[in-house]
Symmetry: C2
Subunit: 217 residues, 2 copies
């Protein structure tokens, strides 16, 4: 099966969620000078089984080598290619509060192929202020900037109460994916992908786990 057809085929949701983990680990290993990693090496590092790893990698246009395992550089490249990270992904952040600014300034995104191309806010006191190299723009500029800068993804970093409204504006402006940092549930047309960052939900999950684990000694 060719790379193209494999890439267009459906990859199961749970597999797509793990691909970024393989990418991060392959990158780390390669940078540490490690050239080969086995399915069980990956499994141990990521808390999976070697079976899951091998099964997952069948969905990707990349093969291991008997007796040696997977080339770290090859795996890294294959993951990046499959996830669509071989070209830069252009991102806009809506909301210039603490969280929005922190993400805009978070260097790791740059080094991982995400390019922050605009920061937007409706608050007059925020508009015009600098965030790193960028200047906070009013929401009325959103559509024009998304089109001009060919922005793919919008990050919603506003209060939950206005999250849906901001998402609607992002959809209208033509973004193709939305990262939701709020607790609100965002509804979007099927042509726009929505992923929840779930920071507060993760803390709540932890609160549950903390109470459920063996009781405090």
């Amino acid at each position: 099966m060719s790379a193209t057809s494999e890439r267009n085929n459906h990859i199961p949701k749970m597999v797509v969620r793990r691909l970024p983990k393989y990418l991060a680990h392959a990158q780390k290993m390669r940078q540490a000078g490690v050239q080969w990693i086995s399915s069980s090496g990956l499994a141990d590092a990521l808390g999976l089984t070697s079976s899951t790893v091998r099964q997952d990698l069948t969905h990707v246009d990349f093969s291991g080598v008997s007796k040696r395992g997977y080339s770290t550089a090859g795996l890294e490249a294959a993951m990046a290619r499959t996830l669509g990270l071989d070209e830069d992904i252009r991102v806009a952040i809506v909301g210039a509060g603490n969280l929005g600014r922190a993400l805009a300034l978070h260097g790791e995104f740059f080094s991982q192929g995400f390019k922050i191309c605009g920061v937007f806010d409706n608050n007059p006191t925020a508009i015009g202020k600098k965030v790193g190299q960028l200047v906070v723009q009013p929401m009325s500029d959103l559509s024009d900037t998304v089109r001009r800068e060919r922005i793919d993804i919008g990050i919603v970093a506003v209060p939950s109460a206005v999250a849906q409204q901001v998402a609607d504006q992002l959809v209208f402006s033509g973004v193709r994916g939305i990262l939701n940092l709020t607790t609100a549930n965002i509804v979007a047309p099927k042509s726009v992908a929505v992923v929840d960052a779930r920071i507060l939900a993760s803390l709540r999950e932890l609160a549950y786990a903390v109470r459920t684990l063996e009781p405090r000694g």
Copy 2:
């Protein structure tokens, strides 16, 4: 089955992940003055099926009412109780960079029962600076503060390269849960729960979705 035994029983992982969503929606509805919500109302709002909603709620010590549905206030309380949010959860943030500071200042956590009790960093230029009401403490203070302040959860907001090392210090200090904001995979003993916030992984998931959705027109 009593509340206690139900709470101690295993709740499936996917169900625990959805409980925070029910909580957020029930809270929003109650605040909007809505008293009752049906399983299909919840399903529509959260992108689930009504079957999943009813099935999920069987794991919780709370019942709906025929013909009316679920009381928003009762649902909110049951979710908070089940997740262990009926008392405050005490949190420490390690890493006083952009992301760590943003989370420390993020008001929503306070209003949702998470109390930030300490911010730590190893960088001499960060130590002693104020973050909201708190003063950034050196890492050498971590253990004492975790014990004195009875901190339950540590948030890892440091560069990925030192994430495991920081997690080890948190485990040693006695936290019972870790929220990992880095791309590193954190390994901890079974007695400490680890949840990944997956911000970069979420962006990567979106990058995949964006390329896979109908091609750009």
